[in-house]
Every structure is written in C-alpha cells, then in structure tokens.
C-alpha cells in the first residue's frame, strides 16, 4: 500500500515533467521554423510595387510618344527598404528588358539578397508606344 502511494506522487511529477519537456520542445521547434524568420514574403510585396513603379514610368513615356528605355526610373528612395525585422537596410536592383515590335513586351526583374540568399521577382507588361 505504502509503495503504491509513494509512486502516485512521483507519477504525477513525471506526467507534468513530460508535459513541460514537450512544451519546451514545441517552443524550440516554433523558434526554429523558417517562416518566422523568413523575410522574403514581405520583400516580394515591396519588390512587386517597385516593379509596378518602373512599369508605370515606362507607360508614361510610351503615352507621350517617347521610346522606352532600360534605365532605372524608380525614385531612389523606393529602392531602399527596411521591411523586415533584422533591421539591416536592403537595396533592390531593377533590371528592364524591352521586347521588340510595337506593342513591346517589357520584363522588369527586381532582385535583392538577404544574408547572402538572393531572390527576385519578374513582372511583365505589354506597353504600346504612341506615335
């Protein structure tokens, strides 16, 4: 009888101990999950808007009758962003390719790299140059 009563207290202790260990393991796993530290999703959104800005500038040139250019027409302060939690500023690189014929198929590639990991998005639009 005494032996069983002895084990009851330690059984409960063991149950709670195991619960704590599991909870600690869960916390370690959540911390280690790449999505919590992955800044790429927010950066992709920002980069998409930078690409849209370049394309809007090209559309304006085209509507005025000017030829399209591969130069960077984005405002310089929009190329720098701090949209993720590590706090280091980041700079986008905008690359424009213009297809032949009229309307032109314009491809804008915005690329960046976070801690040595590069990433990029590509946006295409068809722009017609006015006569």
């Amino acid at each position: 009888m005494k032996k069983i009563l002895n084990q009851r207290g330690f059984m409960m202790l063991n149950v709670i101990f195991l619960t704590v260990i599991t909870a600690l393991a869960a916390m370690i796993l959540i911390n280690a999950a790449p999505r919590a530290r992955n800044p790429q999703a927010t950066l992709r959104l920002t980069a998409l808007y930078v690409a849209n800005e370049q394309l809007a500038q090209l559309e304006s040139l085209a509507a005025a009758g000017n030829e399209l250019t591969t130069a960077n027409l984005v405002k310089p302060e929009d190329l720098k962003t701090a949209n993720f939690s590590t706090g280091e500023p980041l700079e986008f690189t905008v690359d424009t390719k213009i297809g032949g014929g009229n309307p032109h198929k314009v491809t804008v590639t915005v690329s960046w790299s976070v801690k040595g990991q590069p990433d990029s998005i590509k946006v295409e639009r068809t722009i017609w140059v006015a006569d």
Partner: protein, 197 residues
C-alpha cells in the same frame, strides 16, 4: 499519504511555473506572427484599392498628406438616381442604338476619397474610403481581430506626366513592426491633377 507529495511538491510547483512561462511564450510567438501578417495584408489591400481606383482616374486632387480625392470612371446601376454632378444623363438617353444606350446609361464618373484620419475616440489613424468629404464611416484598415494597425504616413505626389506615386507606411500596434511600401500608377485618362497645401 501526503508525505510523498511533500517531497515532490516544491519541484512540482517550479515545474508548473516553467510550464506556464513556456506556454505564454508559445502563445506570444503565434500572436506576433499573426499580427505581422495582418499588417502586411492590410497595407497591401489599401494600396491595391488606391491603385485600382487611380488607374481609371479623370481628375486627382491631393489635399496635403493623408488626403486624396479621385474622380474616376465607373459603371453604376441605372436605378441609382442621385446626381453627383458627373452623370452624363442627357447624353445617354438621347442615344438611339440600344446596345450603346445600355452602357452609356451606366457610364458615370464617381468620386472616391481616401483619407487617413484619426478614428473616433482614438488618436491614431485609419484609412477611410468615402464618397463625400467630412464623413468617416468606412474604414478600410484597422480594428482587425488579430491585431490593430495604424497609418504612419500616406503620401501622394506626381512622379511624371500622368503618373501618381503613392507611399504608404503602416505600423502594427501590437508588435510595433513597420511596413513601408511605395508604388506608382499610370493614369491614361487623367485630365487634371491638382495639389493643394
């Protein structure tokens, strides 16, 4: 019977305390992640709405920071008879071709105002999408269940001929993380852009 528990009890209490701390930590991580997602989602939604409306703009009036008034092309239900000053009613009704009349009757210019202004009883800003001035009943950001957000700045400027540059900076009131996005939209039908203040 309680003697055995007495041996384990202090350790038990410590372990329960540790369990509580760890649970709170797990909850906090998840809550912050959701709040950051809500922030990004709201910033994207507000930006998409403004660019969508600005794309079809006929006239733009920028009234200082935080305020823009866009008169844009829209398709309206014929049953709505309020005259907002831009409805080409006589032009539509006199048309003889029934197909053209169907579209011309519904072809209207609408006024859309995006303004970031403090919400009622609050000192931080939400973005409101209204049709009239001085009315605040349609917030398109903020008061989300998973985390409230506020607008830090909403700037509009003319980047080039017929190009409107929109810069939006928002912050999550829960995690204090900021997001700043800027884009430009080309407005092919723009006739007038006015910047006041």
């Amino acid at each position: 019977m309680l003697v055995e528990f007495a041996i384990a009890l202090p350790l038990l209490i410590l372990i329960l305390y540790a369990l509580g701390l760890v649970s709170v930590n797990i909850f906090r991580l998840s809550r912050d992640q959701l709040a950051d997602y809500v922030l990004e989602s709201e910033a994207r939604y507000a930006m998409e709405r403004i660019t969508y409306v600005a794309r079809a703009a006929k006239a733009i009036e920028i009234n200082g920071n935080y305020h823009i008034k866009i008169v844009h092309h829209s398709v309206k239900d014929l049953k709505d008879t309020t005259d907002n000053g831009y409805y080409p009613k006589d032009l539509a009704i006199n048309s003889t071709a029934p197909f053209a009349r169907y579209f011309m009757d519904r072809d209207v210019w609408e006024t859309q105002i995006f303004v970031a202004t403090p919400a009622k009883d609050r000192d931080y800003k939400y973005i409101y999408a209204q049709h009239q001035e001085n009315v605040r009943n349609n917030p398109i950001t903020g008061a989300n269940f998973f985390g409230d957000t506020q607008v830090l700045s909403m700037k509009f400027s003319e980047l080039n001929e017929k190009v409107l540059r929109i810069e939006l900076e928002m912050e999550s009131r829960l995690t204090k993380h900021k997001i700043k996005i800027a884009t430009a939209v080309f407005m092919p039908g723009l006739e007038k852009l006015e910047i006041t203040q």
